[in-house]
Amino acid sequence: MATTTAKVAAIEDGSPKAVLTQDDRRALLRYMLLMRATEERALTLYRQGKVPGSYYDGRGQEAISVGTAFVLGPRDRTCILHRDLGAHLIRGVRPGRVLAQMMGRAGGITGGKDGNMHFGDTELGCVGMVSMLPDMALVTCGLALTFQMRKEPRVAMTWFGEGSTANGQWHEAMNVAGVRKLPVVFILENNQFAYSTPNEREFAVDPVKRMEAYGFPGVKVDGNDVEAVFYAAAEASERARSGGGPTLIECETMRMHGHGAHDDMRYVPKEMFEVWAERDPIDRYEKKLADDGIDLDEIHASVKDEIERETEWALSQPMPEAPTALEGVFATSEPRLGDGNAPWSHWKGAGNA
């Protein structure tokens, strides 16, 4: 029940069951690169005036959504947030559909009904976020409640920022998850700011310290170390899947871009960027993999190809037809959530968990 680092937690119950093959590690890097490339391209499109409204990204936080979502099985479910494009990509969302989404095209995931990161590909098991934070934490509890009631070995995972932990709905979600011992994994991304608000104005004590009093483990990891994040998430989802209840993983990181593209970040001390630039999750992982003799150029090249293809596709998508604006307020059928991709080698042949 103690608040510990992932490593210690792992040691506590024997060395982690989770194993990463070289292919897995290539995949982790590739997804981080794909996330960054997609967001860089989206930002370019925004600056070209092709993205209406506002633009948000997860620059510097790539290791978190990638490292956590990588542990999920096909039938697990997600509520993915605005800094977590990597999770969408891992579950199988094509970059082109994300770009089309941001441009408000018909080919976007919400068909233009919603914009920016406010989407989820329901065919891949994601219930898209709403703007109100952290409302999805409770929806995630509802997904997990269903797995529990049906006695299915499935996990629900969601993400939120540290600022969101000041909101009452965050508390209600943690409390319900603890009381019902739900199979849910909460990923807390502490990127130092909530829009412009620093930690000390959001809470008096690091939120991970609260978890003990909710009756489940709170774990803190280096959010810029994709493998540390992965191992913590693997352990947490294993626990949830086997009836051990929820876990919250706080990932320490830094939001390297503004809250949105409009944000000049005048409130962020310059040094902070310098310090955190040194810890860039992609640079760090590339060094590590290069030392292990993994060919990075190949990965870079394939990511570049993919982004070019996907951008072309996205730009070729039409805007939605005006009449669709009046459609779909009410459901007339009950389409089900589909399953997501599960690229981790652990799931190969494992079939549906």
Partner: protein, 322 residues
């Protein structure tokens, strides 16, 4: 057909759906061991177990938010707010998460939120509210408000089977006062269809929920006038055809409800008529509602704000004489 109270008709309808469909379950504060503040789920935990009759923590956003998650995963949660007034505490999950889900993402959210609503028994400002108009201003929610035992059961069944979030207003004052014959077994009263509670030709009173019986009593005999009474039953979707047909027939309309006046359901009905049936009107469209005040506790004060039979009589007389 057995006779049932409005209250037992609700229980019966909920029980039938839970027996019929494993995915239907209920959640709320004190609905299990205690059987609910009004005993709607009395005996349920014994029959269905603590998982399907969940005594939740004291947290309304949690109730509605987890219900949304369960609903999109294929369950059919039926949430109880202990009093309708507490919906304000779960408002965000209802209007922002549940209501907009299908429009934004094409996901069905088959859930029901039961709201024991209304006053008339010294519940005071926090146990007497009629919040339905908020939901008409929140696209994506269906809203029903039965006035009879038969409709209470049939509309609840439809609400549970509907693929959308449905706000089900059950008026506390009707729980044990209203009795009626209720078909056994499962049946549905379709959403979106008003009921002609009494046929008439001289004037129409349009109402719903607890005020329907007030309308009937008030218009039973107004100097022999033939007064039609329409029970809307469903507020979203609103049965505009039935409303307009009646207006075309009688040319005079009184709209009656217990909720506050400004931007209430009555305002919507009046606006509809003023726009769609202007030529058929032989007089002003009159509203009888609770004025824009909280519902006071003390009997003489509460009586002074809630619409009374005589208020309706007077409004009808004036309009008939117009």
């Amino acid at each position: 057909m057995p006779e049932m109270t409005y209250l037992s008709a609700i229980s019966d309808g909920l029980r039938e759906e839970m027996r019929h469909d494993e995915s239907v379950f209920c959640m709320g504060e004190d609905i299990g061991a205690f059987g609910g503040a009004f005993k709607v789920t009395d005996g349920f935990i014994e029959e269905f177990g603590a998982d399907r009759v969940w005594d939740t923590p004291l947290a309304e956003n949690a109730i509605i938010g987890t219900a949304v998650g369960a609903a999109v995963e294929g369950m059919r949660p039926v949430c109880e707010m202990q009093f309708a007034d507490f919906i304000a505490c779960g408002f965000d999950q209802l209007v922002n998460v549940a209501a907009k889900m299908h429009y934004r993402q094409g996901l069905a959210v088959p859930m029901v939120v039961r709201l024991p609503s209304g006053g008339g028994f010294s519940g005071g400002p926090y146990h007497s509210q009629n919040p339905e108009a908020w939901f008409l201003q929140s696209p994506g929610l269906k809203v029903v408000a039965p006035s009879t035992a038969e409709d209470a059961k049939g509309l609840l069944a439809s609400a549970i089977r509907d693929p959308n979030p449905v706000v089900y207003l059950e008026h506390k004052h009707l729980y044990r006062r209203v009795k009626g014959e209720v078909p056994e077994g499962r049946y549905e009263v379709p959403l979106g269809r008003a009921r002609v509670a009494r046929e008439g030709t001289d004037l129409t009173v349009i109402s719903y929920g607890a005020m329907v019986s007030v309308a009937l009593e008030a218009t039973e005999d107004i100097d022999g006038a033939s007064v039609e009474v329409i029970d809307l039953r469903s507020l979203v979707p609103l049965d505009t055809e039935s409303i307009l047909n009646s207006v075309r027939k009688t040319s005079k309309v009184v709209v009656l409800h217990e909720a506050n006046r400004s931007c209430g359901v009555g305002a919507e009905v009046c606006a509809l008529i003023a726009e769609e049936a202007f030529e058929d009107l032989d007089g002003p469209v009159v509203r009888v509602t609770t004025p824009d005040v909280p519902i006071p506790f003390s009997p003489p004060l509460e009586r002074a704000v809630l619409p009374q039979v005589d208020d309706v009589k007077e409004a009808c007389r004036e309009l008939l004489a117009y």
